[in-house]
């Protein structure tokens, strides 16, 4: 594994995303003309997105991170579609974040979250592919001295029919790289797509089946040491003292180091040695008021918020309170959703090497630029002397959008100049230092008239704001608009019901437990609250849950279309198999419209077998339907694991659950048959990694009510002694 610690203006540091290996290698090739920007191997960049090797291999640059969601393949499909290249010759690489900075952010945003990987970059990556195609064809035409309009291109081969000549992309790439980029770059009509929109296989699969794929955990550098770390378990408190005399002489141990104000690390020849020594290290922490916080005190505080006078209004129409006061029938319910940890399979880790001239980091991150910013701060070096090399993520789900582990790795490496250090968190450390799904309670009060029409709804949220902790600058006069995901008046997280008198508000309560973006973010609890309550209202109105929803969805035809699609496929309104019960749910999230319907049976009142889940997604455009199906099925594993099993509880200010024995995750035996319907209606670009996660839980909960008459309003279900069969 090579790395060249100096960055040359013309050199191009990359990590190969598809191969996952072959870390940064930079070459300076002064003899190859001054105007062409070159990739690490000397091949010309036609533009920032496309490098073509002499053997016709097409290297597509990907700025967003691959963490299993298929973005790498989907983005490559979009570029390749416009490029008209041979898909079998496509490979990908990640330009490093510092290269992006040095090149004035030519690759745009690196952050990979909010199901945005494709939906917010599709246009400029397609233009990158189209511009490269235009330049390649022009280069061939100029070489042949024929008009561009007489040339055609297919699968990376340019043809001039009249003279019966052909040229491959590889043969004209050098010439194309010198051509002035086109200004007018028309894009194809998605209806004519042949690579994008198709259920192609992922580009990164084989290495994931042979053990070759390189994750952050797998980095090896010459002379590298390994570090294990303990950060103060009570959030907000600090490291007080440690006694390294007890561990210094243990085999392999090299250093015991303070990391920032809150953590201590042991650095050893191997990680196992470091971990054993860390476990033996006597450590004390400072104490403070947070030591007194527990799940009970947090719950009590949130409960007060359900009736508090002050609340931020997220969505309002008519006069909900008056409608409720005048209601023929009033329905009220209180729900509660817990803290949860992302628990990606690969615990957090980062490798760093620091000298006064250079700091380099190798890690899996959902945001290379944020990781770079953190590395800059921790290293004390300018951006010209720092870089981050992105590796495959063993899951992200939002957790790897925060770069605390990168900061720690650099702070450790800085204390051992010139020695690469790989910091690995134990699973326990990972569980104790998450950025947790925020905790939330809700009180919903609905008004029905004599005919059972829904005339008013007051939906009060009480709980934690992510933005207040993570991006306080994005609060709007104190309000966290993200809290209202799935409930907003308009936009990518719009509420999908037309209720004449509506008030959705949020009493913000921010405990000391750090919140973060957790796959689906606030649509998870908001959709459970809303969609379960819709069934409660339908029951009170004496109406069928589907009919009741339809009655307030007239203004939301796209929401209704996906709901109808799942209702039809699950057989709503037709008899279910004996002992099988159904439930459904819908939401708009991350600019996609999704609905889910579940079929379950219940044994002994508390063993739920989820037989089937039908899910429909309208993402506007479907870049890779096969990968969308996989994301949908996977989102249900994530969402149902959370529903049934997952809760982070707090005792004496710290997290109680430290591993999968107390924080369970679904296994294959519990997996329902997922039937995913993708119905792209065109005209907009929605995300797919997250939206459907929100509909699995309420669909199952509504089916559970249908089966048992019991309405569960607090989670996870294990607290009600309910498990999956």
């Amino acid at each position: 594994m090579n790395f060249v610690p100096k960055m040359n203006r013309r050199s191009f540091l990359t990590t190969s995303a598809a191969a996952g290996g072959g870390l940064a290698l930079s070459l300076t090739l002064p003899f190859l003309g001054p105007d062409i920007v070159r990739a690490a191997d000397g091949s010309p960049e036609v533009n920032a997105w496309v490098v073509i090797r002499p053997d016709d291999t097409v290297v597509i640059r990907i700025a967003r991170s691959e963490m299993g969601q298929g973005t790498l393949t989907g983005l490559a499909q979009l570029v390749a579609e416009e490029l008209e290249c041979d898909w079998s010759k496509v490979t990908t690489e990640y330009p490093t974040p510092a290269t992006n900075v040095a090149r004035k952010r030519i690759w745009g945003d690196y952050s990979t979250g909010g199901s945005r990987g494709i939906r917010t970059s599709h246009e400029y990556v397609r233009k990158g592919g189209a511009a490269a195609r235009i330049m390649l064809v022009q280069a061939a035409a100029e070489g042949w001295k024929v008009p561009v309009s007489e040339c055609t291109v297919s699968k990376g081969v340019i043809t001039h029919k009249a003279s019966n000549r052909t040229a491959t992309y590889g043969s004209v790439a050098e010439a194309a790289a010198k051509i002035e980029p086109p200004k007018d770059i028309p894009l194809k009509d998605p209806k004519t797509w042949t690579i994008a929109g198709k259920p192609l296989k992922r580009l990164d699969t084989v290495d994931k089946t042979t053990g070759k794929m390189m994750y952050g955990m797998d980095v090896k550098l010459p002379g590298m040491l390994c570090a294990a770390i303990k950060d103060c378990p009570v959030f907000g408190n600090k490291l007080a003292s440690y006694d390294d005399s007890k561990v210094k002489s243990m085999k392999g141990v090299r250093h015991v180091l303070k990391v920032g104000e809150t953590a201590v690390a042991v650095v050893a020849d191997t990680w196992w040695q470091a971990k054993v020594a860390l476990d033996a290290l006597p450590v004390t922490w400072t104490e403070g008021p947070n030591n007194k916080v527990s799940s009970e005190t947090i719950a009590a505080w949130l409960k007060e918020g359900l009736d508090a006078d002050q609340a931020f209004v997220g969505n309002e129409a008519g006069n909900a309170k008056e409608a409720i006061a005048k209601a023929h029938k009033k329905v009220e319910a209180v729900y509660a959703y817990p803290y949860q940890n992302h628990a990606p399979m690969e615990p957090m880790n980062a490798t760093a090497v620091w000298t006064p001239d250079k700091c380099e980091v190798w890690t899996g991150t959902q945001n290379g630029e944020a990781a770079l910013a953190v590395a800059l701060e921790a290293s004390g070096l300018p951006v010209t002397k720092c870089d981050v090399h992105k590796l495959m993520l063993g899951g992200g789900f939002g957790r790897r959008g925060r770069s605390d582990y990168v900061s720690q790795a650099v702070l450790i490496a800085k204390q051992i100049p010139g020695t690469p250090v790989k910091l690995i968190w134990s699973r326990e450390e990972d569980m104790l230092h998450g950025t947790y799904h925020p905790i939330m309670q809700a009180k919903l009060t609905g008004a029905l008239d004599e005919k059972g029409n829904l005339t008013g709804l007051h939906f009060r949220l009480s709980g934690q704001s992510i933005l207040a902790a993570v991006f306080p600058a994005n609060l709007q006069n104190g309000k966290d608009p993200l809290t209202f995901q799935g409930l907003s008046p308009s936009g990518e997280q719009a509420f999908g019901y037309d209720i004449p008198n509506l008030l959705i508000d949020h009493s913000m309560r921010n405990p000391h437990v750090p919140p973060g973006f957790w796959r689906g973010v606030n649509i998870n609890q908001n959709t459970i609250f809303m969609e379960c309550f819709m069934d409660e209202l339908a029951l009170a109105a004496g109406k069928d849950p589907l009919e009741f929803r339809r009655s307030v969805m007239g203004k939301y035809p796209k929401n209704l279309a996906v709901l109808n699609a799942v209702a039809e496929k699950i057989g709503w309104g037709t008899p279910a198999p004996k002992g099988v019960y159904r439930g459904l749910a819908q939401v708009k999230a991350f600019d996609s419209y999704v609905a889910g319907a579940a079929e379950i049976s219940v044994d002994s009142g508390n063993k739920i077998k989820v037989h089937r889940i039908v899910a429909a997604t309208d993402p506007g455009y479907a870049v890779n339907p096969a990968q969308i199906h996989r994301q949908v099925a996977g989102s249900f594993v994530y969402g149902l694991s959370a529903l049934f099993y997952q809760e982070i509880t707090i005792k004496d200010g710290r997290v109680v659950e430290e591993n999968f024995d107390t924080y369970n995750s679904m296994r294959i035996s519990e997996m329902p048959e997922v039937e995913s319907i993708v119905v792209p209606s065109g005209g907009f670009w929605g995300g797919v990694g997250e939206p459907t996660i929100a509909v699995a839980a309420p669909a199952v909960l509504n089916a559970y009510f249908a089966a048992t008459g019991k309405r569960i309003r607090s989670f996870p279900l294990k607290n009600h002694d309910i498990s999956m069969a």
């Binding site: 963490m67 299993g68 969601q69 298929g70 296989k201 992922r202 990164d204 699969t205 084989v206 290495d207 994931k208 089946t209 042979t210 053990g211 070759k212 794929m213 390189m214 994750y215 955990m217 797998d218 090896k220 390994c226 085999k251 191997t270 990680w271 196992w272 040695q273 054993v276 628990a343 990606p344 399979m345 690969e346 615990p347 495959m392 993520l393 063993g394 899951g395 992200g396 789900f397 690995i424 699973r427 096969a626 996989r630 099925a633 996977g634 989102s635 249900f636 594993v637 994530y638 591993n659 999968f660 024995d661 995750s665 679904m666 296994r667 294959i668 035996s669 997996m671 048959e673 997922v674």
Partner: protein, 149 residues
């Protein structure tokens, strides 16, 4: 010193005998396809074969593996030719992040060696690996495909 045979190669490794086999495979033998997920035999990411038996290597002291035949994910393919399980994995595009998949493939390979045509129930009873990305639907399809290949 612990004498290990990994993927047919003998290693004499100077290591504390209580070290979990997982970390010796990763750190001393340098084979990083075997993953760390939990360290407490819950997730299966660290699964290897010991004398043909799928074993969670994070919870086995290396001394217990001495003298036995250890196979890791890197030892499955024969001269670069993928096994039928690996081929089925590629064919069904099973991995998402892929971090759990080496352990999953090791567990499935041991299952198929013992039960060439497992039923869904056999799969449910035997394959208890965690996959946080949720690839189970593809895993099941790929197991049946490999069994019928």
């Amino acid at each position: 010193m612990v004498a290990l045979t990994i993927n047919g190669q003998s290693h004499n490794i100077d290591v504390d005998p209580t070290t979990p086999l997982l970390w010796v495979i990763r750190e001393q033998a340098g084979l990083t396809g075997t993953k760390y997920g939990c360290g407490i035999a819950q997730c299966g990411a660290c699964t290897v074969h010991i004398d043909g038996v799928a074993t969670r290597s994070c919870s086995l002291p290396v001394s217990d593996a001495a003298g036995k035949k250890i196979v890791t994910i890197e030892g499955l393919a024969d001269n670069g030719k993928l096994t039928k399980v690996q081929q089925a994995w590629v064919e069904h595009d099973v991995p998402q992040c892929g971090y759990c998949q080496c352990g999953m493939i090791m567990a499935v390979s041991a299952l198929l060696a013992e039960m060439p045509k497992p039923t869904d129930k056999d799969i449910d009873d035997t394959i208890t690996n965690i996959c946080r990305c949720g690839t189970f639907q593809q895993v099941r399809a790929a197991i049946h495909a490999a069994a019928n290949a």
